[in-house]
Symmetry: C2
Subunit: 532 residues, 2 copies
Amino acid sequence: MEALVNLLSETLFSNFLTVKSFVSRKFTPRINCNVSIQTRRITVSSCQKTSTPVNRTLTMKNINPQIPVIEYAVRGAVLIRATEIEKELQNGVKKPFTEVIRANLGDCHAMGQIPITFIRQVLALVTYPKLFNEAQFPPDAKERAKQLLDACRGSSVGSYTDSPGIELIRKHVAEYIQKRDGGIPSDWQDIILTSGASPGIKDILKLMIYQSSGLKSGVMTPIPEYPLYAATLTEYDMIPIGYYLDESNNWGLDMSELQTAVNQSRAFSHPRAIVVINPGNPTGQVLTKNNVQEIIKFAYKERLFILADEVYQYNIYDPESQFFSFKKVMKEMGKPYSEMEVASFMSCSKGYMGECGIRAGFVEIINMDPEVKKMLFKAITTSLCPTVLGQVTTDIVVNSPKEGEPSYNQFIQEKTTVLESLRIKAKLISETFNTFKGFSCNPVQGAMYAFPQIKLPPKAIEEAEKQKKHPDVFYAFDLLEHTGICIIPGSGFGQDPGTYHFRTTILMPVDKLKTMLEKFRDFHTRFVEKYS
Amino acid sequence: MEALVNLLSETLFSNFLTVKSFVSRKFTPRINCNVSIQTRRITVSSCQKTSTPVNRTLTMKNINPQIPVIEYAVRGAVLIRATEIEKELQNGVKKPFTEVIRANLGDCHAMGQIPITFIRQVLALVTYPKLFNEAQFPPDAKERAKQLLDACRGSSVGSYTDSPGIELIRKHVAEYIQKRDGGIPSDWQDIILTSGASPGIKDILKLMIYQSSGLKSGVMTPIPEYPLYAATLTEYDMIPIGYYLDESNNWGLDMSELQTAVNQSRAFSHPRAIVVINPGNPTGQVLTKNNVQEIIKFAYKERLFILADEVYQYNIYDPESQFFSFKKVMKEMGKPYSEMEVASFMSCSKGYMGECGIRAGFVEIINMDPEVKKMLFKAITTSLCPTVLGQVTTDIVVNSPKEGEPSYNQFIQEKTTVLESLRIKAKLISETFNTFKGFSCNPVQGAMYAFPQIKLPPKAIEEAEKQKKHPDVFYAFDLLEHTGICIIPGSGFGQDPGTYHFRTTILMPVDKLKTMLEKFRDFHTRFVEKYS
């Protein structure tokens, strides 16, 4: 235990891994949740050692105890070092590379993806309406901008909107969903516009903070998972119930694993909800319709609220795969499944648009108890409203130019170019990684990431332990320092103990991706040689 | 007690008032905090009566118990009714008025205020860089836009930024603060850019969620206050410690009142922080330097973290008044005061720019424990980053066109026009209200609101009680139904028990404001006659 505590206090990633693992089955029985909580306390108290002046009012001794234990690997230690290295390069420090390749974050435009012209034209028009006189803007962009400005109070995007967003745009979102799901109705009053998917996810999870008979609410989250869920559950002092995705079955969901996880979790939590990320992040799988049906049946049996993270619904590359929304599948299954509670999240940061910095997205709330829904709508009012320019971006994504409209051809061409390029890179990256010694990478069916498994030489693992780093963190730092390539270690997402992975995006331009892969291969070959 | 419970379950506003009042001294001794908490539980359980299907997973019986008790009056019941009325008018329902006058929210552009050209030009340029070729954009707007795009990854506002915002803009903010405070240094690494002031306020309060010896953290908040604070403290299950502003002394802060409030609060909370809103919302006062010094001394003695809500720092109308930032005053006081912990909040939604819908602002963190600051910076990463277009807006506000630059004259003219108009309206509104029978209104020295006290006839109070409405809520609804004027009842902000107030903005154009005031006078005269 003492060694564990030391390890915890030393590295962010192993901390994250350990806290997660304590509530996951394969590392330690889930029933040991007390240990998890105790571990958290130990982590906090280890932080106290570094606490500073006695005179301060707010110190590590009296801070919110959930904050020190939050970990969010996609903005974690490796990225912090990458930013330092960028500064060193700027300051003329000599490195074996000239730039940092940020393969860590699904940050499309940062990796050279070109913004969709129609989105930016409409944004410019609503922002600065004098541009309505400019001939360079096509009439459909102007028409769209006018419609949106008419929906803003005082015809300005600088006005507050209703907290769930502009009614017109919520209606367009509902129409989009209805069309996407082959005509299954969507009610615009079930739509909440958000500043990216993350605030929507937090708003829904927040509703479930609850304790009875000494047990806190638990939420089933995949391992590996997008770490926003773990971070948010930690912040809210809720219990993550990890369920392992089946790497040997292309990261599919195995029902017996779900069942075991939820059964064991009842000893230390009230399981309330299940998070499913489809297409998967960081794992890139696209669930089959049959798999979605099985999950729905499982959630029904276990009375779980479904959080369907469907932000990559446009990002399907595998010709054999198709996106099935949880809502569509569950509605088609008929009663009782069609009456289940689902929240589905979407974002303008992903897809073909990649407008991360604009902060836009939406959530559809299906079958929520009307009184609970009122509470949700009340709770979001304290954020006033999501950014109006984000709402405008959402409008264009859900209501893109139609055939025959002036901007249609260019829009389709730009959209197709982005998605086709991603398709090529998805294939290239998994195929290339599979030629690396000790790498095995599932096909990237969707989303924006590859999550290969890597076999690390025992001497490398020993060296990592010596340096008090998780082996995959050790590997990621070594890669960064030697090549400038910034990836995220698998322990930041969770993984089967004893296995090592990392996440890389597939976003850089094809040429750059090829160069990166060759640099990566060289590094890996040398790494394996060094520690053999 | 039973009557109280009924009242609680009947109206939102009385609920809000009561929960607040229980922790305020004049209604009931502060030591009765248990009653407050019990009251909350009763409120929750009263909600359970209206709960729906047994089959739902998430119901009022197992929802986060803090959510039902959150109240946020600026988006509360009166506004909801106002929105309904707007729809009724659209659908041709006959009313004694043709439009709803939204005097409820500090929503500048919605009330006709014109956006600042330079802000919108730069926003348009960074959004759609093809506009760099357009002659209609002045060279300084282009130069600024180029500088900002260079600071964005991939030269796109669609990229994520660092979680505290773009370094260049944080540096500009620090320069702005340093200049504002007469040269007192500001470190850009103490600046966090935010999507409006609210998320910054929540981020800081979140750090203080803590319990020891069975006592939760308490935060001193003014009565009347901007209700975001009460709503956030409720959500975080922290204890609001209300301190009354002195209406008879133009809403100044009385040190003996602060002392009494904090002394009594120690029986049921750990007082951790004090919120001061300067210029005041809803009360419009501007604190004197002497008053700020006294508050700092008080906070030092009581070891309180200062949350300085300074979002109206541009909005000073009274020629005798001047804005003194807490940082400037505290730094000038020297040690030990200059070492105190302060977070100061600023927003682009107010001032002369009024860009509410863009969602932009910043917080300066002064003297925070470095370890705690690390935790804060970690915690904000889960929101990824504030909207980049909001960050760009902030940049222009803190680094506006300089004398001699092409856009300077127009910028100054637009800024002056807005602020001068607000100055005229601030005077007009308080002077006019003071001619109404039974109204007394302190001068609006700053911010964007008047908060007059109104004497209500006893029969009106009886009628309100019959309808189970707080008397000022009753009055606000009656005003809305008869005139279309939407104000916020004083009970939504807190007020001395037995007194009645409301908040109105001063934002509508002068002509419209005059018309509103005449309609208001007619209504009030008839209301008083009816209930005499």
